[in-house]
């Protein structure tokens, strides 16, 4: 392997003398990762929804003695959906042309039904077909849920006032008429003035029990309105930018690009520079030559992967973010970077040997990198075939290895499994690359 070490040394020296190439190869995957992030950001951006107010809702609505500011409700929804007021014709056109993804219509008589409490009024919702329609539907459902919660609170308080009226008595207005209600407490006092007897005692007992039972009505109504509450706890975990998943993908994406392209270019350049013939004359075996290219990919993956991990670690430390132990796990990560880099280098060497020319090899490598990466990004649960195909390529295994090695509480099972996968894939691709080097001599 001395010969392979000499060629590896040469390759590393050549790489260092091509800073522009190295810079582009490092910047490119980071750029791609950024663009993917932007696309993902678009996926979570606020969709535009037209709000059509056919009932001409006032700024402030009074329901059950409670004042509701319509704009506050809109602002609340606006955290997730960008609500735009439109007239019905404009809204229909906007929906047809895709300027809004949905329309939400407040039909005539909505507020009257709401105030009466006799009918449940409905908002009318229309959505386009497409990728984000289900998400918009969820947002609108969340809006209705939020409104219902506020209304429930108002209704419960109104109901409680009526209950309180039954308990204590007093004057009340209902359906436009004012009543003087006796109330259980006053009823008991009146009973005391009646002649004693079994009937009076029975009525007094009923009034007492009813008073006790109605005293519990408040909490019972609250529980009925919201059987299960949801509280948002204070967040002290990592931000999404620093999440284990993002780090794992950033590492895997970078070394996949670098290892694949560098290995493919390196083996093809041996032919372009006509050095393969000179080497072939007994100076080095083709197996050793493949080993040298694989080793270079592994070294580059190790160095750059560790550099990225160090930067992440420093940001995490500087931010004082809790969770994860990047420093303690770096040796484990290094082992994965080395083996993943070698597996990807073997695949790159195979591609380079098949392509034969450096330019073709680079183009083929770029074309192959994309599906390799995206196959690894598709969740197995969504497309099982993609998961199976991805198993035959190093990227997904590298992601799982990095994620486990950096953040799993008990990483060993996953780490060993993925390491075996990566080593096996590296051996298979390396053996195929060894056979394919025959093409370099043709």
């Amino acid at each position: 392997m001395r010969q392979a070490a000499l060629v590896l040394q040469k390759d590393l020296r050549v790489l260092v003398r091509s800073p522009l190439l190295l810079g582009v190869l490092i910047a490119y995957p980071l750029l791609v990762a950024g663009l993917v992030g932007l696309v993902a950001g678009y996926g979570s951006s606020k969709p535009r929804v037209a709000l059509v107010d056919e009932d001409h809702l006032p700024q402030v609505v009074s329901i059950g003695g409670h004042q509701f500011r319509i704009q506050d409700a809109i602002d609340e929804v606006g955290k997730n959906v960008h609500l735009v007021r439109m007239d019905p014709v404009e809204a229909r056109r906007a929906l047809a042309t895709g300027r809004v993804v949905a329309t939400l219509t407040v039909p005539p008589g909505f507020l009257a039904d709401l105030r009466s409490g006799l009918h449940s009024p409905s908002l009318v919702y229309q959505v386009t077909r497409g990728g984000i329609s289900s998400r918009v539907t969820q947002q609108v459902q969340a809006l209705v849920y939020g409104l219902n919660r506020q209304l429930q609170t108002a209704y419960v308080q109104t109901d409680l006032r009526y209950v309180q009226l039954i308990v204590t008595g007093g004057r009340a207005t209902f359906a436009g008429r004012t009543y003087d209600v006796l109330g259980l407490a006053r009823m008991e006092k009146l009973l005391q003035k009646l002649p004693p007897g079994a009937e009076r005692d029975r009525i007094a007992e009923f009034a007492r029990i009813a008073g006790v039972a109605l005293a519990q009505t408040g909490s019972l109504l609250g529980a009925t309105a919201n059987p299960i509450g949801l509280e948002r706890a204070h967040e002290d975990s990592r931000s999404s930018l620093l999440s284990a998943q993002v780090q794992s993908y950033a590492l895997a994406l970078t070394i996949t690009f670098l290892a694949l392209l560098l290995a493919a270019g390196a083996i093809a350049s041996e032919r372009d520079e006509n050095a393969i013939g000179r080497l072939r004359r007994g100076l080095i075996s083709m197996g050793e030559l493949v080993s040298a290219k694989v080793a270079r990919a592994a070294v580059v993956a190790l160095v750059l992967g560790l550099a990225i991990a160090l930067v992440f670690g420093l940001i995490v430390d500087a931010g004082g973010v809790a969770g994860g132990e990047p420093w303690q796990r770096l040796p484990l990560l290094a082992a994965g970077l080395l083996v993943a880099g070698a597996a990807l280098g073997a695949l790159g060497t195979l591609l380079g040997a098949l392509a034969r020319e450096t330019r073709t090899a680079s183009l083929v490598a770029v074309l192959v990198v994309m599906p390799v990466v995206f196959l690894g990004l598709v969740p197995r649960e969504v497309v099982p075939v993609a998961g199976s195909l991805s198993d035959g390529l190093p990227f997904a295994h590298a992601v799982r290895y990095f994620s486990a090695s950096l953040y799993d509480a008990s990483p060993w099972k996953a780490v060993v499994r993925e390491l075996v996968w990566l080593a096996g894939l590296g051996l298979v691709f390396g053996a195929l690359a060894r056979v394919a080097t025959r093409r370099l001599l043709a």
Binding site: Q3, L6, K10, R13, V14, R17, S18, E273, N274, A275, G277, R278, L279, R280, R281, G282, L283, I284, R438, L441, A442
Partner: protein, 219 residues
């Protein structure tokens, strides 16, 4: 006739469906300079690459008598453009297992007057060819295979190259060179092998070639 040091036995080479060299028998003898001539695409470079071991034959075999060391100067320069001339020579010297690779490299750089520390891709065509020749001399070869070696050299460098070549032959080494230059053939070749469309049509002393075949080859 002296003993052959390098033999091609029924050696042939195809590239896909294209036949570059029909089955060919040729011996390279000690202390001789054998010229390979023929029109472009006749198979000269292929035969030299096969003799050098840079190409695997599709059929037949190359025999190196006593594991003789062979140096090869391909028609197109074969070294790493991003390395300097010195680094190229030192790398290949180490691969050839030269005991003192630095000294050997320095010696060849001085002998061929090659700019030592400039990246090879910045060298002139002539300097690149000198480096190409210098690399072939690593490992102290007893057989030197040269594929149109003087095409890019100035007259002074040509003379120096042929001095090196004839010195090797005079010391008992062998030289096989492909050329389109009939003057070089007359001056330096002991024997001539003629290739036409991948077929070896003549092998014999230069005098015989001159007498019977010279006019036919390039017409």
């Amino acid at each position: 006739m002296s003993d052959p040091v390098l033999r091609a036995r029924g050696v042939a080479r195809r590239f896909g469906s294209q036949v570059a060299l029909e089955p060919t028998d040729v011996d390279v003898e000690a202390s001789e300079a054998l010229a390979l001539i023929g029109p472009n695409g006749a198979g000269k470079s292929t035969l030299l690459a096969l003799l050098a071991g840079a190409l695997q034959p599709s059929a037949g075999a190359i025999e190196r008598v006593g594991d003789v060391r062979v140096g090869w100067v391909p028609q197109r320069a074969a070294f790493y453009d991003r390395l300097t001339a010195r680094e190229n020579l030192e790398l290949f010297a180490r691969l050839e297992e030269e005991p003192d690779h630095a000294a050997v490299a320095a010696q060849l750089l001085a002998r061929f007057e090659i700019p030592a520390d400039r990246p090879a891709h910045t060298l002139s065509v002539g300097n690149r060819q000198r480096l190409n020749v210098a690399l072939a001399l690593l490992g102290d070869p007893r057989v030197l295979l040269l594929d149109e070696p003087t095409a890019a050299l100035d007259p002074g460098q040509r003379r120096r190259l042929w001095e090196t070549v004839t010195a090797l032959r005079d010391e008992g080494g062998s030289v096989v060179f492909a050329t389109q230059n009939l003057e070089e053939l007359e001056l330096y070749a002991d024997r001539v092998a003629v290739l036409q469309r991948g077929l070896l049509t003549f092998v014999g002393p230069t005098a015989d070639y001159r007498q019977f075949h010279a006019e036919e080859i390039f017409t």
